[in-house]
């Protein structure tokens, strides 16, 4: 609304263009690699394994819902097995 009257600096637009990807990468890494302020991939081993089929599902189906479901089911399976 306000921006329609202003011009956004070109550099700002190009910077903002990379923000969503950076945000998702950063949040995902924090979820899967960090716990309680420590870098702890081993503590998230099962989730890291479950992330693989979740990524594959996302690429193949392009569906958020299917991605989450496959990840959850994989994690349940791993927890039952291990």
């Amino acid at each position: 609304m306000i921006l329609s009257k202003l011009r956004i600096p070109d550099m700002m637009i190009r910077w903002l263009d990379h923000v969503p990807i950076a945000v998702m990468g950063a949040l995902l890494a924090q979820e899967l690699l960090v716990s309680d302020g420590r870098v702890d991939p081993a503590g998230h081993l099962l989730e890291l394994i479950a992330a693989v089929p979740a990524f594959l599902t996302a690429f193949l189906t392009k569906s958020l819902f299917a991605t989450v479901i496959v990840g959850i089911l994989t994690l349940i399976g791993l927890r039952i097995l291990i």
């Binding site: 190009r14 950076a22 990468g25 960090v34 870098v39 479950a50 979740a54 958020l64 959850i72 994690l75």
Partner: protein, 241 residues
Amino acid sequence: MDTKSEQLPSHMEGNSYLQGFKDCIPTLLGYLSIGFAAGVVERTAGFSLLEIALISLLLYAGSGQFIAAGMLAAASPVISIIITIFFVNARHLLLSAAIAPYFKGLSTGKSFFIGSLLTDETFGVAAAKATEQKRLGYQWMVGLNITAYLFWCAANVAGGLVGEWIPDPEQFGLDFALPGMFIGLLALQWLSRKKYKLDFMVVIIAVIAVVAFSTMMPGSAAVIAAILVAATAGMVMERWK
């Protein structure tokens, strides 16, 4: 969406709340699945049903709500949550600015009402319509926005209700709903932007930055710092090419 050509002859006919509602329908499945997942995640993060309804109406942002739930569960300070969500949703500045010319002449209040309820999906529908006509109708846009808004809230509450029946979320793998959603959002963005190499580098830098910063500052600050570093790196790398 298929009804577009029928209403083209008369701009006034196309500008109705009902037509806005109809044009919103194809997007509702997306709201249902993401909103439902958001409701479950919010419930497992300890939100009450009332809080779920309120966050979906007041924040009204899919990724923003996942982030809020995750960061609140991790006891992050409120200011970090606000800054992170601001960055995640900063694209709305661009979305609103992009469709504003199609609503020239509306009062400030009406512009605000349209802009504040704009979503990726309603923006997508509006942008598609804007390729065929010079102006977009206010009533049509309000019908589109409100349909999405109410459906989103309902989907969140439905997810919260189901989440409530699940006594031990971890046992059902529901703690993966949040990282799973981030994986999905990341993969979908990566696929649709088609800047595969560059975006991959940005993600790698973001991951390394989070890991590095996590050892020296609280997690929420590490996320913000990593976003700043990775987005800046992306901008610089793009310029060099």
